[in-house]
Symmetry: C2
Subunit: 111 residues, 2 copies
Amino acid sequence: MTAEPDGEVEEVGNVLVALADPTRRRLLDLLVAHDAVTATTLAARLPVSRQAIVKHLAVLDAAGLVVGHRVGREVRYSLRPAGLDATTRWMSALATGWDRRLAVIKRAAEA
Amino acid sequence: MTAEPDGEVEEVGNVLVALADPTRRRLLDLLVAHDAVTATTLAARLPVSRQAIVKHLAVLDAAGLVVGHRVGREVRYSLRPAGLDATTRWMSALATGWDRRLAVIKRAAEA
DNA sequence: GGGACGTGCAACTATCGGGTTGCACATAAT
DNA sequence: ATTATGTGCAACCCGATAGTTGCACGTCCC
């Protein structure tokens, strides 16, 4: 009914899963502060091992929220703002959908 | 620095975790279509048992996305649109924060 | 009262996800 | 050439979670 581009729904799912983890959210915060940072550097600022960070970055990358590009022997990770777009849209659409639905119910209740 | 109301961040986390599960999302969709529905009814429309549904509804309730009120021997569940508000705000703030940050970086790169 | 229907609680299983350690490999730096 | 630093890969541990089944209890209907 809403004419979804189909792959969109899976993309949103990936982003939601990615954002559901607190360590991953902290990671994104760190990336806002310092762009193009290496996994090792990030690990120094969080209470988990570098490999844990790498796994998290892989999840964020799969969700399209982050990219890593190689510079010599190190890999610098950066944010990817466009990765949030679809999910932000999905979420506000959900919210307005709920509100509209609720309005209908309320109106019906008053009849 | 952003003067968060503190408990807000945990609330957002709960909502993100709740939305991360596909079955839970389908459940919310069903609730948009039919308000004030019982867990048994919902179970009939999904490929999982009633108890699984009940657990999911408990998670959604803890996240503030849903409420159940008792009517006789049955419990009817309804959406709770306000539960989305904080998370929606959090997310668009995140998006605009990223964009601003990116703009700064771009400007610096051109200098 | 007695069946039917819906809910609540508990135990149990199995998979997934976040985290760890250990080591091999590649790229700098001296 | 040797050392140091950073990445990549694999095996493993453990707690959380999505799911199940089974049964007891409350409530409506005849």
